[in-house]
């Protein structure tokens, strides 16, 4: 396969690292060479989280500026902030549900409008999709499945030599039994959105 670098950008406590791991393990199960990387520690407590999955024979555990083929944004502003990591012409799939920063909640800074965010991202790449991850996750009854919605969309997009089925199998194999049903539904909702987009 053509090697692919996937960059994850999210907010501490959002489950970005769990999603990273799930993608990496799904790839490994399908016989794809994988290296993943993450930074623990200060990334918790509501800070920015960056993590990486490198498929197809990379040795490096991180992605530098301008290297990511795909940016998976789990939060709009964090997608914008992570843009320098995307290679020119790279692709972005991102959640459209803002998580306000503390300074925004306190009225000291303003959260940019979705138009501004789209405009910013549009300057770097035309290949981007915003996915209503939270809205779709609510349909499963468990909002924490928003990350799975995004991954479902990603798998359905055909960017990897892996199918949605591979991802669904991985959810069944790797998640705690009580979480399987809602996550399967979330993945399918993400995939359906992608198919209709």
């Amino acid at each position: 396969m053509k090697p692919i670098r996937i960059f994850f950008a999210g907010v501490g406590g959002q489950g970005t690292l769990t999603a990273t791991r799930l993608l990496a393990e799904t790839a490994l199960d399908s016989g794809i060479e994988v290296t993943a990387g993450e930074i623990h520690g200060m990334a918790q407590r509501g800070g920015v989280v960056h993590s990486f999955v490198l498929l197809g024979g990379y040795l490096s555990p991180k992605i530098s500026m301008g290297e990511a083929d795909i940016l998976l944004g789990f939060e709009p502003v964090e997608s914008l902030r992570a843009l320098p990591y995307l290679r020119p012409g790279g692709r972005i799939l991102a959640s459209d549900a803002p998580i306000p920063t503390l300074s925004v909640s306190m009225g000291r800074e303003t959260y940019p409008s979705m138009e501004k965010i789209r405009e910013g991202i549009g300057k770097c790449t035309e290949k981007f999709f915003f996915i209503p991850c939270m809205e779709l996750a609510r349909k499963t009854g468990i909002v924490q499945t928003a990350n799975t919605v995004l991954l479902g969309a990603f798998f359905a997009g055909g960017y990897l030599p892996l199918s949605l089925e591979d991802f669904l199998k991985s959810i069944e194999k790797r998640l705690a039994p009580r979480l399987v049903e809602s996550n399967l539904q979330a993945a399918r909702l993400g995939a359906e959105f992608m198919a209709s987009a």
Partner: protein, 611 residues
Amino acid sequence: MNLLDSRAGTRSLLLGNEAIVRGALEAGVGFISCYPGTPSSEVPDTFFRLSKHGDFYFEYSINEKVAMEVAGGASLGGVPTLVTMKHVGVNVAADPMVTLAHIGTPGGLVILCADDPGCHSSQNEQDSRYYVRLAGLPCFEPSTAQECKDMTREAFELSARWQQPVMLRTTTRVNHMRGPVVFGPLSPARTKGAFARDPQRFVSVPAVGRVRHRALLANLETIRGEVNRSDWNNVYGRGKAGVIASGVSRAYLGDVLKLHPELKVKVLELGLCYPFPDDLVNNFLEDLDRVLILEELEPIMENEVRRICQQKGLTIQVRGKGKDLPLWDEYSTSMISTALHHLLDLDAPVETVCSVDQSNLPGRPPNLCAGCPHRSVYVQVRKIFGDNAVYSSDIGCYTLGMLPPLNTADFLLCMGSSVSTGCGMSKAVEDPVVAFIGDSTFFHSGITGLINAVYNRHDLLLVILDNRTTAMTGHQPHPGVDQAVFEGKPGRIEIEPLVRASGVNEVRRIKALNQKALSRAIEELKKASGVRVLIAEDPCPLFARKVLGQKRTKKARVAVSDQAALECVHTLACPAFYLEGEEVHINPVHCAGCMVCVQLCPSLKPETTGS
């Protein structure tokens, strides 16, 4: 993934730190001690999780020095031993470590030292390979998860055979990478050994130390011969330009060479990096006209190569630290690509980074969680002392108090320094000094500073923020935590009697979330002089929920959104608050129910939660 799987051949995606655990288990590790610290923590945490099912002995020690000493004892007793810590922990443990290298460690001792180039979660950036040279420790530097496992296992074998402690030196990217690892066979844990009494070797009085230093140097020369021939050090590629790389730089180099097959270089990869393999490197350099050294942080291999060139009369160009490759932060593929192009007198590819103006994006620094008892204490301390005190901080979540609006950290050195550095400050300035230390950090090395403060009659208000866990690094237990919580033996060490036994008379112990009690205690202690201690107790809300299984029974709601409520938002900076225009709201999902805001502001009211 089961790290205790006895079968060989399983292939799993492991965190570098989990791979280190597997490697130690395959080697039959019998004794593990540690002090947690990012990026090393998942090694001890994984052992702790497995300890109910494994035969090995595991402990969270009180600090790194103690961890090194108990590990040293077990190894002297003939048991294969692992001790783990982050780079700054090695500073704390350096004293016993250096002497252990002198007297040797018959059972085998592997020291995991996790460096943090880029300071992802550390107070400084240092290169522990200097310790390797200072103490005389053969040293492995893995670059993949598989190597994390294999090198750890090998380090145990070599350490036992050489009877010398061996360092496994990692960096954040390696500890926190995930990669496929093929398991080897598991060995039974060797938890019992025999101590071969030999005071002329193991009692390092000056007469013995003198002899042992020479024995160590002789040992290292023998080991150097093995390192010269070691399979962990590989040569590949061809050309007149050479590259020598170690650690994660090897991974970056590998990717760059794959991406740019036009870059023709001869490569020497060092996995077993110390004692430096002089002969191997000398042979490698022979046909080259230039060589580039790839190593993060200090030019340690570079200096070794320059030494060899000088000794052997080689006139090749040695390149390393400089414009392309800095002494700080991490390396990357792009950095190494640039340095390689320049090595070959080629123009480096121009990087096109796609970017937008980020100056107006709202920042997202980490902050204290909703319901964090530290916030409650900080708010009350600031209310009483304001800017008319100097705030001495320490290592833990509570260092986040440095951010506005709390502003309760003015300086910080290292674990335990809040007490002693605060004492020094109090002699130098007129303003009172208030020091903050967490419970785990107090046990780590705050106690010695406190005894010193009492004995030397310092003037300091010490606030012990006792949240009953080591919160920052992932809720590890410490001597103040009842191990029964983790199905261990019951029993904990109380902080207050320790403080009193240290000679402190002015002691208050209150609930950290009780604003009135805090206010009274701080006012009283402000009026007193000498060493005063406030113990503010309330559990970390994450720990209470995840480990203790405590459910939230109350939450706060905005009864009236008025000026007082708005002020409360700006005083507390609690992430459960949000504004819509000027209207104050509390996110019912985020509110942890600490009720601090309700105590501060009449416009906010408690309500019981349904669940």
